[in-house]
């Protein structure tokens, strides 16, 4: 790397080229005298010159020497003169910077400014470098949204040709965006369009975000967002006519106006596929095409179809495939016909995959995510899929996958540049919930342990009636296979005040999970646990009393999950079905078999409404012995709103304690809708109906109430995905209940993760 001092254009004084060396030629140089060099020793000046003793006075060489001396950036001015046979080099050195100071900067500290500029104490001062630094400071302020900041460099001369440099900064006002308006939009409301933009209107609760600051690049990005949104809604001729940002009358903020020309809405016309690949019947690929004739035009569906077709054709063994959609736009009856042209792509092979920037993550942890190996046929869809998989590791801030020409015309080198992100997390959580009371949780997690892609998590949780310590470790590619394996250790204690007995659980588990298909996952888990029930109050139920003491549970558990939901943690569409089997009895004192089936279905209505329908059923049976209270099913609290935890189900007559049921079924219907805060506050209202029942227990039938008739509760609720965490409040009104059930109107949980 060229040292900082030598960068920058030629020294000041002569702008551009040096003055021509007006030196009479002829005769040889007997002596070279350097004048004016104080800091830079003469030896250095000579070493940069292209001419030395005994050479003739050759003007071209003198000129080169002059230029190279300037390029060092060390000298303000250089002149060559001839006295007899001595060449006199007169230099005026650029001053050296003694100290750099910043004045008037409130928003950005000195430390950040120093990091941004190039000049440093003890570095050579040149006017061009000062200008560059002024520009750098302005860019920094522009990024913070202060467009009318000004920077004035001041120079204080010192002895020994040194200077102090002071940047006088006037930060000017922050330029926020007070309003975003749209002109020409009939199809969609301003609110919906605003939801598509990265720029947002400034408002009080956005004190921490910078998305409401005027930034021309982000506005340009927003034009693209709008175009993509309209294209996915069928407006093929959509155009953003203009984006105007004027200062508000009081000059404190900007008003942004997007003028759009929506154009007509198109439908898909005739869709067909033709291919030039040998013995490939295009019709077999018909179901991979997502675009159906008659549906509204949607650009994203076209891309998805291309991906699906590439994948399908790839699987049939055609490595080199190039699929291009040709559109036939029919303006009269507003349809867009599509022809997918499948033809032979260029025959290119991957020569090498080079991975750079992985300072912490091991090479193989990244390489194993690749859908291509060296020597394979190059395929853009697979490359894109590989990039997505590396991105999903969430180990990196930036992932760049590019390919460059290889050693032969039909070979390419794939270059992966990653920038590591910090994958260690220390998260503190606090919360209050009706079932557990006040709750605090500390968790230390490292998602990329030792760069090997392994996940280690240690959590401590303390609440009103329980304490918990858990440790879990996961290796995503056990023995190099697509099999994630891991172990968990846990120890928790519970002081049950409702069913007045204390419980201590200590145990560990081994687990392994794999993808059966793209969307189906199967997880197996073996768990060994020692459970102790003690301090059983004399008013406790007979069942609990019989379970006092220590039991060992050794169980094997299987869960099959078929997940087609869209929208991550808070799905808006799709469905998920899961079936779990737990057999406890591989040794140990307790033997039972438990099965549970769950299904959730999310149906989007309009733009922002979601109808959620959920169902669950469970059945368990003791093997050669009675089932125990702590293993049975409980409903209530957050699992059945309108009733307290365990409020539904068999209840001991004498102690009035819930003792859990051997079977249960439960259904939920919920309509979720935004609560008129321009969906900026991310608050969702919901009306829900929970129905279900828990029944059946072992032991003396007369000692407890029990009923399998369904209970029903309906009510309104609120979920706020606040920046500090999820806040859920539900009011449940039980319509149908049993006499002995325990109801509870309000159920809330406020979990904070910060």
């Amino acid at each position: 790397a060229v040292p900082a001092a030598a960068q920058g254009t030629a020294g000041q004084g002569t702008a551009g080229g040096a003055t021509p060396a007006a030196v009479p030629s002829g005769g040889t140089i007997q002596e070279i005298r350097i004048d004016g060099a104080q800091r830079v020793d003469p030896e250095t000046v000579r070493s940069y010159m292209h001419i030395n003793l005994g050479d003739p006075f050759d003007p071209i060489k003198l000129d080169d020497s002059l230029k190279s001396l300037y390029e060092t950036g060390l000298f303000a001015d250089v002149t060559l003169a001839r006295q007899g046979d001595t060449l006199v080099v007169k230099v005026v050195e650029n001053p050296v910077i003694n100290r750099i100071a910043f004045e008037g900067n409130k928003r950005i500290e000195d430390k950040d400014l120093e990091g941004e500029i190039e000049l440093r104490p003890r570095v050579v001062f040149t006017r061009t470098k000062v200008q560059n630094d002024v520009q750098r400071i302005l860019d920094l302020y522009r990024r913070k949204g202060r467009f009318n900041a000004t920077v004035e460099p001041k120079i204080i001369k010192l002895d020994q040709n040194r200077v102090d440099l002071v940047f006088e900064i006037n930060e000017g006002e922050i330029t926020q965006i007070s309003a975003i308006n749209f002109v020409g939009n009939q199809a969609f409301s301003d609110g919906t369009l605003r939801g598509q933009l990265a720029t947002t209107e400034s408002s009080w609760w956005r004190f921490w975000s910078s998305s409401d600051v005027y930034d021309p690049d982000r506005l340009a990005f927003d034009r693209e967002n709008l175009r993509r949104f309209y294209l996915s809604e069928g407006y093929a001729d959509f155009r953003v006519v203009s984006t105007v940002a004027e200062l508000s009358p009081d000059r404190s903020s900007f008003i942004v106006t997007f003028t759009v020309d929506e154009g007509p809405r198109y439908k898909f016309g005739k869709i067909d596929i033709n291919s030039t690949l040998k013995n490939l019947d295009p019709e077999t690929l018909r179901d991979d095409v997502k675009t159906q004739e008659g549906d509204w035009y949607d650009a994203t569906l076209v891309d998805k179809s291309i991906d699906a077709l590439t994948e399908a054709v790839g699987n049939l063994g055609y490595a080199f495939v190039d699929i291009r959609p040709k559109t036939q736009r029919d303006r009269k009856n507003l349809t867009i016909g599509l022809t997918y042209d499948i033809n032979e792509g260029p025959k290119v092979y991957v020569e090498r995959i080079d991975i750079e920037g992985n300072v912490r993550t091991l090479d193989r942890v990244i390489r194993r995510e690749f859908r291509l190996a060296e020597g394979d046929a190059f395929n853009a869809a697979k490359l894109r899929r590989s990039r997505e998989r590396i991105q999903n590791l969430e180990f990196f801030q930036k992932v760049e996958v590019t390919n460059e020409p290889g050693s032969a015309p039909d070979k390419t080198v794939v270059k992966v540049k990653v920038q590591e992100a910090s994958t260690g997390e220390v998260s503190l959580g606090a919360g209050v919930s009706t079932s557990v009371g006040p709750l605090a949780r500390i968790q230390i997690r490292e998602r990329n342990l030792l760069g090997r892609g392994q996940d280690l998590r240690l959590g401590f949780q303390l609440s009103g009636i329980s304490s918990q310590v858990d440790l879990s470790f996961t290796e995503p590619y056990f023995m190099g296979r697509d099999l994630s394996a891991g172990f968990d250790l846990f120890r928790n204690t519970l002081q049950g005040n409702e069913s007045n007995f204390d419980q201590k659980r200590l145990g560990g588990a081994l687990r392994a999970g794999y993808n059966v298909t793209e969307y189906t996952r199967n997880v197996w888990r073996y768990q060994l646990e020692r459970r102790t029930i003690y301090n059983v109050g004399d008013s406790a139920s007979f069942a609990v009393k019989s379970e006092e003491g220590t039991t060992v549970r050794s169980s094997i558990d299987q869960e099959l999950i078929w997940d087609r939901t869209v929208g991550g943690a808070n799905p808006t569409s799709g469905f998920q079905v899961s079936y779990e089997t737990n057999f406890t009895g591989l040794g140990g004192d307790v033997r039972f078999l438990r099965n549970e089936l769950k299904g959730n279905y999310y149906y989007p209505i309009g733009d922002s409404f979601t109808l959620f329908i959920g169902g669950a059923a469970g059945h368990m049976v003791g093997i050669g012995q009675d089932t125990r209270v702590s293993d049975r099913f409980f409903l209530g609290g957050s699992t059945f709103r309108g009733f307290e935890f365990g409020g539904i189900g068999p209840r001991d007559i004498s102690s009035d304690d819930a003792i859990g049921g051997k079977q249960y079924y439960k259904g939920t219907a919920e309509l979720r809708f935004p609560l008129g805060f321009q969906d900026a506050l991310d608050v969702q209202g919901r009306i829900f109906a929970d129905a279900g029942a828990v029944w059946g227990f072992d032991g003396d039938k007369g000692s407890a109430y029990d009923s399998d008739s369904p209970r029903l509760a309906i009510g309104p609720g609120l979920v706020w995905n606040s920046p500090l965490g999820l806040v859920a409040i539900d009011f449940g009104f039980p319509l149908i209940k049993e006499g002995f059930d325990k109801t509870q109107l309000l159920n809330f949980s406020f979990g904070v993760q910060f």
């Binding site: 790839g314 699987n315 063994g317 490595a319 025959k347 092979y349 300072v359 912490r360 190996a373 020597g375 394979d376 046929a377 032969a408 015309p409 039909d410 070979k411 260690g424 490292e446 342990l449 030792l450 760069g451 296979r481 697509d482 099999l483 794999y514 993808n515 059966v516 298909t517 189906t520 199967n522």
Partner: protein, 134 residues
């Protein structure tokens, strides 16, 4: 459940292989028909290899190779094809890799370093360092 089919390396079609005629085709013909060789022989200079396979993988089991072709093309000194040989998956042997590896230096990242984020030094003893010591 569906098995994931993958094509690895350069798997030329039978017709393309048939188009390579010993004694007539030259290196350029082979290059045109089959593309650049997947790899050259390590020690025989005028031998080209075209290696490709189709694998099928179910869940996390090892992908089993359902079809492999190792096409070996040797050239005479005058550049024309001397002979072509095709090995298939039957010729392959199950080889157990020796798990010994040649040792390498380099700072292995320890848990402690990961937590405090700096990476230690390479190939030098601790204590006061005098540059020039290996």
């Amino acid at each position: 459940c569906a098995a994931r089919v993958a094509v690895r390396g350069n798997l030329p079609d039978p017709e393309q292989v048939a188009a390579v005629l010993p004694g007539q085709s030259s290196r350029q013909d082979v290059q045109r028909i089959l593309g650049s060789p997947s790899t050259l022989s390590t020690f025989q200079a005028n031998t080209w290899y075209y290696i490709g396979e189709r694998t099928e993988q179910i869940a996390f089991f090892r992908p089993d190779v359902i079809d492999r072709s190792v096409l070996v093309i040797t050239f005479k000194d005058d550049g024309t094809v001397d002979d072509t040989k095709l090995y298939t998956v039957e010729d392959g042997q199950e080889i157990a890799m020796v798990d010994r590896t040649t040792p390498t230096e380099g700072n292995e990242l320890t848990i402690w370093q990961q937590l405090i984020g700096n990476i230690g030094r390479f190939g030098s003893d601790s204590g006061i360092k005098k540059p020039g010591s290996t």
